[in-house]
Each structure stands twice: as C-alpha cells, then as structure tokens.
Assembly symmetry: C2
Homo-oligomer: 144 residues x 2
C-alpha cells in the first residue's frame, strides 16, 4: 500500500522546494505537485500514524511549537491575511497530516470559501512547481 | 466588541456541559448552543489572540498535548471513526479556536462532506443541548 506521507518522508516523493523544516518527529514541506495553491504546506509526523489521538507524548510535545512557527513563517513569507490549519482526518490519505493554507491577498474571505475553491475542479490558484519552490524558500527564510 | 471565545472563558457564555478541560493556557468545551453535532468540541487559548502564528511559546508547548488528548478522548467517548481538527482562521470568530469534529457512525466518509453537511442549512445532525451535555461528560470521563 502506498502512503504519500511515508513517501515524502522517505524521499520517494519530493515536494516542490524540498523539506522546509524537519525535526525528530515532524516534517514540513510544500504540498506536492500538481500544486493547487502556492504556500499550501503540509506537516506530517515521521512515524506512520493515522489518528491525531494516537500521537505519542513526544510527538505531541513538538506539535504545537512547529505549528505556531510554521504558521508565523508562512504568514510572514507570503504576507498572508489568514492561515488555516486543518487535519482533515485522513481521507484519502490516512497518515496524519496538517494542512497550512494561506489566505493570500485577493482570495475570498472565509475559510470555507477558500478551501472549497482550492479543492474545486476549477483550480483557480493552481501554479507551476517553480512558484511553490519559491514559496517554500520564502518560508524557510522566514523561519524563526 | 463581543468575542465568543472570551465570553466562554469569562463564563458569560456556558457551553453545554460546561468546561471539559482547562489548564493555564487552554480551555476545551463543547460547541455552544444551538448545537449542530453532538461531540463537536472547541479548544481556545485563554488569551485573546487572533493568529495561530502569534501563540506564545508557553501556549504552543501545551497545544499539542491537549490536542492529542482531546482527540483521543473524543474518539473513545463517542466511538468516532475519525476526528477532524481544524483552525479555520477566525472567520467570523477571530479568537483562535480549534474545532474537534467527530465523524460518528453513519455519517458520510470524507472530511469535506462532514463539515459541509454540518454547516449546511439543513443541519441534519442538530441536537438538543442535553445530548451535547452527555457527550461533554463522556469526553470528560474518557480524558487520560
């Protein structure tokens, strides 16, 4: 069975721009190609685990700091108006993952409109991998 | 200006079942009445802060443990198939808040279908406050 989270962690799938941040338990990278929105990042535990409630105390201890730092760096790097942070329970990818979705200038207000539009068939914000690589590098530079 | 997060923390608004878990920085309670889904919990920082990226190191340090424990307790208490964890960027409530949304037996598979249905005008899973109180108590009992 293929797991996208495990594929990224093992290096079998390379997100645009490569790894943005990595520690003992978590890996943050841009969402993979084809990219639906520049700056849409994904945070995954390095261990294959399928429920947020099944994270170990060690994984839980670093989740908050990496989440806060990632949100701040993403917001600064792209001058985002809001940052949405969502773990949508694994479907279709069961490996726990947290989406970091920036509301960039000109995008509709309201999380629902942003997420529904991003995942719609119209894909109005789809971008080239090169734009995602640039965003990933900007987040890396903004990391504190 | 009214802030629902601050109202709950100050006790001016009482979620069904009251406070489920509270520590120095975070408060977890059921979503407020009228309830759209039993077991839909909300985690808020006690400080009024509007960006996940603006959480203090102290707030960030406890975010992961409380998130993991809440997700595990909610899943166990309601025999939920999945737990969705989302901070949707504040609209319309700017005070940072994380939704914990259980996919209960019989609900559609897929986070998007669950969330869109829950927030739709049909409100198919709306329930009495008493059911929410029972769910809150079950989560409290399942807390580890």
């Amino acid at each position: 069975v293929t797991c996208l989270g495990c594929d990224v962690i093992a290096g079998r799938v390379r997100p645009p721009g490569g790894v943005i941040h990595e520690d003992e338990h978590w890996l943050l990278a841009h969402s993979v190609s084809p990219v639906l929105l520049r700056g849409w990042l994904v945070l995954v535990p390095k261990r294959h685990v399928e429920d947020v409630g099944a994270l170990t105390p060690q994984e839980a201890a670093t989740l908050g700091p990496v989440t806060t730092t990632a949100a701040a760096a993403l917001q600064a790097a792209l001058a985002a108006e809001r940052i949405y942070v969502c773990s949508l329970g694994g479907e279709p990818h069961l490996h726990v993952h947290f989406h970091f979705i920036p509301r960039l200038s000109g995008m509709p207000r309201g999380a629902w409109r942003v997420l529904a539009t991003m995942w719609s068939e119209e894909r109005p914000w789809a971008c080239a991998d090169e734009e995602a690589e640039t965003a990933a590098e900007a987040v890396r530079q903004a990391w504190r």
